[in-house]
């Protein structure tokens, strides 16, 4: 009755043979296809490099003015513009301008990629209940699986660097775009969809003219989440060679530099607040039409 005392686990030799077998198979695949996969992601790499160059090589005041204008256009709030400028000036004054630019560039590319991948998947998910049943659990796995776990295969395929970091961040930050797009489209009332049908709209016309515009405020909620999640991943991503505010934090952990960690942490919080307020205010402005002015 030994199985009552100790869990009847697989024999250690068998278990290690199984692990070895899977690892070998996986390694064979990376050897076989690693290069092809790397080439596949080359355009992404070019995009990353171009965006980072633009932000780090432009003069600091030009970037600052551009950011202030962007915040002004998306929020129409002078208070937020002022907050943005002060935050960025402080970051620069404390010597973190370049790292911050690298992080902002990374977040920007991640958000663009997450949208490019997530919007179409979200639209498809909203059109089929079967697909929704398949996708939603997958998103749950993506969000709960510890990020270190999927860093391993990513590094095996692509090595250390920007692109694997980007992929790791996108895997983590993509689910909200899909979820919110799916939700936003499903929330468009059946009556409106019947009207589009009665006027003979094609599927494409329904999506572009009615469903996406009406889902846009909800989708913006997803974009906001995506930005926040990408930011929270910068430290983890720095472990596989993503430059930016994460790296000094990593250095601070291993060398117990308290102040270095704190400064960079505060800088991450600072840009997180800017992105969050700006994207939320923009999402609210998209809902202007739903304000009721008349009984």
């Amino acid at each position: 009755m030994q199985w009552l005392e100790a869990f009847p686990a697989m024999a250690p030799e068998q278990l290690s043979a199984l692990k070895k077998y899977i690892d070998q198979g996986f390694r064979a695949i990376t050897r076989e296809y690693g290069e092809a996969i790397e080439r596949f992601f080359d355009p992404l790499k070019a995009f990353l490099i171009a965006s980072e160059r633009l932000l780090t090589q432009s003069p600091w005041w030009a970037v600052l003015v551009a950011m202030a204008l962007l915040v002004l256009v998306s929020t129409r709030s002078l208070k937020l513009v002022l907050g943005t400028v002060v935050t960025m000036l402080l970051i620069g004054y404390f010597g973190m301008w370049e790292d911050t630019m690298k992080t902002v560039s990374m977040i920007f590319v991640c958000t663009v990629v997450a949208l490019a991948v997530g919007l179409p998947i979200g639209i498809l998910t909203s059109r089929s209940n079967g697909l929704q049943r398949l996708i939603i659990p997958l998103l749950d796995v993506m969000q709960t699986m510890p990020s270190f776990v999927y860093l391993i295969p990513v590094v095996m395929f692509l090595g250390i660097g920007k692109v694997p970091g980007l992929i790791a961040v996108v895997i983590y930050a993509l689910p909200p775009v899909i979820r919110f797009t799916n939700l936003g489209i499903r929330l468009v009332s059946a009556e409106l969809m019947e009207a589009t049908e009665a006027f003979g709209a094609s599927n494409w016309q329904k999506i572009w003219q009615v469903q996406l515009p009406l889902a846009l405020p909800t989708i913006m909620g997803g974009v906001n989440q995506t930005i926040m999640l990408s930011l929270s991943m910068v430290v983890v991503a720095s472990m596989i060679g993503v430059q930016g505010l994460g790296q000094p934090v990593l250095k601070a952990i291993s060398n117990q530099y308290f102040t270095l960690g704190l400064f960079n942490g505060i800088a991450i919080v600072g840009i997180a607040i800017i992105f969050d307020r700006a994207s939320q205010a923009y999402g609210k402005r998209l809902q202007r039409h739903s304000e009721v002015h008349h009984g």
């Binding site: 009556e191 009665a198 006027f199 003979g200 009406l214 739903s290």
Partner: protein, 358 residues
């Protein structure tokens, strides 16, 4: 001012023939159809076979260019019926003939084309697009059809003005009152310039004054447009005011159809007479029905299609006791007296009234 793109050739009025139409809701409508043909009752079908009978053996011949009202209480199947005309709902069995084509047999592409060009719909809860301005909402049908921006802008502006919303082009629907929103809904449907207009309880969500106002707008427009309008309502007064023809639907079956006057004067059964007894008969009965043929009398001459309430108004205003009735070409047909009118406006004796001593 000739506009080649819009209304250059207003299509001749198009009739709608609905034949042997059945709609069964449930998991396997085909399997229970034989039972329905054998005459199973609605309740038995629901309780024993788990299917809901939506429409049973509907025949309706809707002439082009008139207003056909379909009246029924909630659950009678009237909204289901109107959705078969543009096939927002697929029938279980039956045919819907429009312009020598059976809508039921159309493939996906033909149906989409048919909806774009032949029909337009006005909805009970307006169904305006909240993210579009009034102007953009009204243009919607033409945008779906791919009409050029400038042309659809012109057409939309014309109809916005026609329904009395000039100046509100850039407002969003939420900024308008219910009555104004439904004017947008009406303009959106009219801008489509389709020969068939489907109105699903279009005025039911409006309060009484606005509703009567919108009825006038519709009658006014119909005078010049002569579209084929199918109008759904649960309100008999509305049905009688608007309908050239009225069909009454109950439990998925048409139990009477005819002109409003026919329905009020000769209700097919107790169910219908329970509706018609409270109707203002003076606004339904036309003097053609009531007049005595023959000798001219001393008094004004009225048109035979006038309702008797209007005749009574003319008589009392001019101080006469009787009027001559003429047809639309002016030919004298007979006469009508104030006494006849008063007698006709009083509802017929019911059994209780007859039992009273008197």
């Amino acid at each position: 001012m000739v506009d080649n793109t819009e209304q250059s050739a207003a299509p001749a009025s198009v009739g709608v023939q609905i034949k042997r139409l059945y709609k069964v809701f449930g998991p396997h409508p085909d399997k229970v159809m034989p039972l329905i043909h054998q005459g199973i009752s609605k309740d038995e079908l629901r309780d024993k076979h788990g299917h809901i009978l939506g429409l049973r053996n509907i025949h309706l011949d809707i002439a082009g260019g008139g207003i056909q009202v379909i009246m029924g209480l909630s659950g009678s199947g009237k909204s289901t019926l109107i959705r078969h005309v543009n096939r927002l709902i697929d029938p279980t069995e039956g045919e819907v003939w429009i312009d020598a084509k059976d809508v039921v047999q159309m493939n996906h592409w033909a149906l989409r084309r048919f909806r774009r060009e032949q029909t337009a719909m006005v909805f009970q809860k307006f169904a305006l697009f909240p993210h579009m301005t009034v102007m953009e909402n009204v243009q919607y049908g033409l945008r779906v059809r791919g009409v050029r921006h400038k042309n659809r802008q012109e057409a939309a502006a014309r109809w916005i003005e026609r329904v009395g919303l000039a100046g509100y082009e850039d407002s969003f629907p939420n900024q308008l009152s219910g009555g104004m929103q439904q004017r947008v809904g009406l303009a959106r449907a009219l801008t489509n310039d389709a020969p068939i207009l489907l109105m699903d309880e279009a005025f039911s969500a409006l309060d009484p004054l606005i509703r009567s106002d919108m009825q006038s707008v519709l009658l006014d427009l119909q005078q010049e447009l002569s579209k084929t309008i199918i109008f759904i309502t649960h309100d008999l007064d509305e049905a009688l005011r608007l309908g050239d023809q009225v069909a009454i639907l109950r439990d998925g079956e048409i139990i009477q159809q005819g002109t409003g006057q026919q329905i009020v004067l000769k209700p097919a059964d107790d169910y219908i007479s329970s509706f018609t007894k409270d109707v203002n008969r003076g606004r339904v009965i036309r003097c053609r029905t009531l007049m005595t043929p023959g000798v001219p009398v001393q008094g004004p001459t009225v048109d035979a299609s006038l309702v008797i309430e209007e005749v009574a108004r003319v008589l009392s205003a001019e101080g006469f006791d009787a009027a001559n009735v003429a047809n639309s070409r002016g030919k004298l047909l007979g006469s009508i007296s104030m006494g006849d009118i008063i007698a006709a406006m009083v509802p017929p004796k019911t059994e209780e009234a007859a039992a009273e001593p008197g």
